[in-house]
Symmetry: C3
Subunit: 409 residues, 3 copies
């Protein structure tokens, strides 16, 4: 840490909502700030005063600071400046923006996870309105979308995003890096209410358990009680071979996903649209997930221009037993949600089961039966969930039970 010059953030023709910061420590002369920004007239002073506050927070008294701003929000500027500071000064301090109340929700282990939108962890522009697209989950990605030299920056940006951006009820997910680096990532996200951690390139139970233990330690230290779920991503032949073992490696695992880009690369085969090369792996993963009682989640569909092909893909995916799919563009979300949403027949079946259960309850029977067949409690629960979702999606009214009774008359 003998350097005196550091830079952080991004700047360029395609960059928006971000800033590039160059910080040089001096031995005297106080703080000098050189800001270039399109919003200088409106926000120039507030940007500068924020920077002064951050520098003071980290005890820096003499420095020159050059900022190229393309419309960064305060939490982004703060993140970039903190990143630059930490390249020059050894400190455990964190300059945390306000944790907005809207972000302090938990999610249920068995909630539907039809769509989850991937956001590169070092690209503020894509994060800001991500919550408007009604994805079931939002993934702040620290792994493959972040180049190695930007990993540190991304951690701080994602941390601030978790505190500041309202995702409107979407499950707040973070994809950490593999191995040790991933365990290090957790310190930046667990204290800020990440609902679910995606574990990439998962090949064994230990890697899941390591993440579980690390999360436990962090929560324990901070006295946190919110649940944090795990979703291992299977991206190799070895991962597929051990998918059942991985799916049941921890009670915190609520889903396992397959990542076909890496999987087909590991296999050394070309990924095709029919997907014959991965059918075995996908179906095996579905069985492994269901056998372990967790949700099987399909890979992203990479052709973001072809909505019809995506729709077909979702149909096949659902027909094989998958319960969701990754998204790499917001426009994929409605197609995927509609595709995985319960169909008419499914809703009717759920209605029948819930009725039978109601009926049994009223008659004081301990066993629910439908057409002479016993219905297990998890099936009833699942049916109730299907109905709740149908209501949420506008496929049933809140008063569906009365409506159905009405019809029967």
């Amino acid at each position: 840490m003998n350097n005196t010059i550091a830079s952080a953030g991004n700047w360029g023709p395609k960059v928006r909502s971000d800033c590039e910061i160059k910080l040089e420590l001096k031995s005297e002369g106080g703080i000098a700030i050189d800001l270039t920004s399109k919003v200088q007239a409106l926000y120039g002073e507030s940007i500068k005063s924020q920077c002064l506050e951050v520098l003071e927070f980290f005890g820096i008294k003499d420095a020159t600071l050059k900022i190229n701003d393309s419309g960064a929000l305060p939490f982004v500027i703060a993140a970039r400046l903190e990143s630059a500071v930490k390249q020059l000064v050894r400190t455990d301090l964190e300059y945390l923006p306000e944790f907005i109340e809207e972000n302090k929700y938990s999610t249920a282990s068995d909630r539907f996870r039809f769509s989850r939108l991937y956001l590169p962890g070092n690209t503020p522009r894509m994060m800001i309105n991500a919550g408007l697209h009604s994805a079931d989950g939002i993934i702040l990605d620290l792994e493959d979308s972040v180049p190695p030299e930007k990993k540190d920056e991304a951690r701080i940006l994602v941390r601030n995003a978790l505190r500041q951006i309202n995702f409107y009820g979407a499950e707040r997910m973070v994809r950490i890096n593999q191995g040790e680096m991933g365990l290090g990532d957790l310190g930046y996200v667990i204290p800020h209410n990440a609902n679910l951690i995606l574990i990439p390139k998962c090949e064994n139970s230990e890697s899941v358990q390591n993440v579980e233990i690390k999360i436990f330690e962090i929560k324990n230290k901070l006295g946190l009680t919110n649940p944090v779920y795990l979703m291992p991503i299977i991206e190799s032949a070895l991962g597929v071979e051990r998918s059942f073992e991985i799916a049941k490696s921890s009670e915190k695992v609520v889903a396992i996903a397959i990542g076909l880009e890496d999987f087909t690369a590991d296999l050394g085969v070309t990924r095709t649209s029919e997907g014959k090369e991965s059918l075995y792996a996908r179906t095996r993963l579905v069985i492994a997930a269901k056998a372990a009682g967790v949700q099987p989640i399909d890979s992203v569909f990479s052709d973001i221009g072809d909505m019809e092909a995506l729709k077909q893909n979702v149909l096949i995916s659902k027909s094989l037993g998958f319960e969701g799919m990754g998204c790499i563009h917001p426009r994929q979300i409605p197609v995927i949600r509609r595709g995985f949403a319960p169909g008419t027949e499914e809703i009717e079946k759920a209605i029948n089961i819930v009725f039978a259960s109601e009926d049994a309850r009223k008659k004081g029977l301990s066993v629910v039966a439908l057409e002479s067949k016993m219905i297990d409690p998890p099936v009833v629960l699942r049916a109730q969930q299907t109905i709740n979702l149908a209501i949420k999606l506008g496929l049933l009214t809140v008063n569906w039970m009365d409506d159905v009774h009405e019809e029967e008359k």
Copy 2:
């Protein structure tokens, strides 16, 4: 057991060969029987005298008995009355009808099991002529076809059926219930020469071993020595995941079957006629079965009207390695048997192997070879079975060896 009124059996416009019994215990007045039956003129007296015998057997001296009979055979009437009695009186006594000699056969572990006909365990009408259809096996079902409130009745009816109905050499199978209830079922069927027990919704070795132990205890207590085989049914993702483990869980397991209705429900997918959603599970089960040296048995085909579709289904099933399939209607049996029966090529191959084996035996060779390839003893045994079956099915004459030699001249 403070009730004094009980009923058992079935009565209604579609019910035949059954009776409904209403029994009320009295403190005095002897036995009063009120019988309604189409066959009253012919059998009225004998029905009444049988009822008196049953009541006397259970020590009941004062009661009113109302019987609505739709042509029930004596063993059905006895079963229904015993069921009613046991709702009112705590007793370990069993009123057992004669065990006919024709029912005292055993079956071989490696016999062909192409077709097995499901019979609801509480529906006498379907049992009575079931043996005439030449199914390889007859299943008296105590599980899904029997509603929870009829489980007790069904046990007694099935017990009596096992003693009284001639199934003409079909393997005598019983599908028990899951878990503890299933272990209880065994006491009603093992003493009456059930050849094979189907274990539904099997998900682990323990459930198979529990059945095995219970059977051992029952046989041991009664000094029975007949073999009782096991056929676990795989009906969930977890069952598929553990299919190999289940297939080799006990030496008594001779086959494993897949039940696709429940399996697809467990997976949350729609069952289609092409069956893409279950291809993985089916082929995996075939491999698991063969790897464990047991027969893989396919699911029932539910469209009982479409014989052509059934035929295609059997062809695919056989091509994947299945060795049999369940039937839910007698008319499916001949199609299934023909489909799984050895084809011309298969018979020729078997002939060649048996000849090579004969040849080796005559020459005093320890190793059987066919076209420079060694033939393992199980392969020879299997070929001999194929030939035996071909003879049984009329595809070869008993003197086939001479016939073939003749041709070669």
Copy 3:
């Protein structure tokens, strides 16, 4: 060993490059040789003198020897005579022909194994020019292509072939027999630089480990240090069920192969050209192999007349992840090699990875990244191999790196 008459080798209208030997031990009269050969004029004397040398080597002084020669090379004649002698005389001596220098190479564990040509182990005619066809591997087969009564002869012939026939760099493979006989085979091939042993009908780790131990003992005793790799062949349902376990049973395993003729027989199904009956097994084996880090190798294609069908077969095979295939006729080799060779896209990807790696090396970076994604070291290694192979196959020049740089200018 009280016989005095023995015969070895083959003779007949279709036999070439072989000889049949009849040896009768006498108690007096010296050696009498009766030679019939088309090449008698040219080689008659040298054949006889070789036979005298062999007999002297084994201490035989009095015998009559009848030779029907169809153009056998000296190492074949020597093998046949040794086989005859060993039927009559108990001895541990081996009459070893010269071990030519060209045969003393080792192979790399990760070399490409696109094509491997099966040669029946007791048929000299097919061995002699086998090296000219550029197969990646040559298999001298002691198993299914050798009838039981010829096993001993084949061992000696294969041993001599390993010392004398130049296979021009093809990997020198031997398929041994199953079980104990196979362990016995090893003594005839390990001392003579077999590069790889194929283990047929492999169903568990122990059978692989037994071969590994036996090889270790032989090498240890003789002070050999050359690597000997293992390729288990999966040919049964049980083998498929345990394919992952088998693939990782020993560090010496470099590949696992599937043998579909025996596999479909074990399953009791007909082998079709579409192969639906084996798709599960093949894809499962691919995953098992890749998960264990070894090469998955496909079954032979048996219709040696249909090159177009073979080509299609190779395409599918490669698309599923297989990295090679067996050959039963030399004409299949070029089709298979071309099919499995890296395609244009694959080569370009490899070029990019190697460039990125070069780039990282020059910049002193510890991590290789390509388009923001980290590249693991094994991926770089594999890319380098692809490029080496492309060069070998004439798809890239040795100076490709300069050529590509040139293009970019």
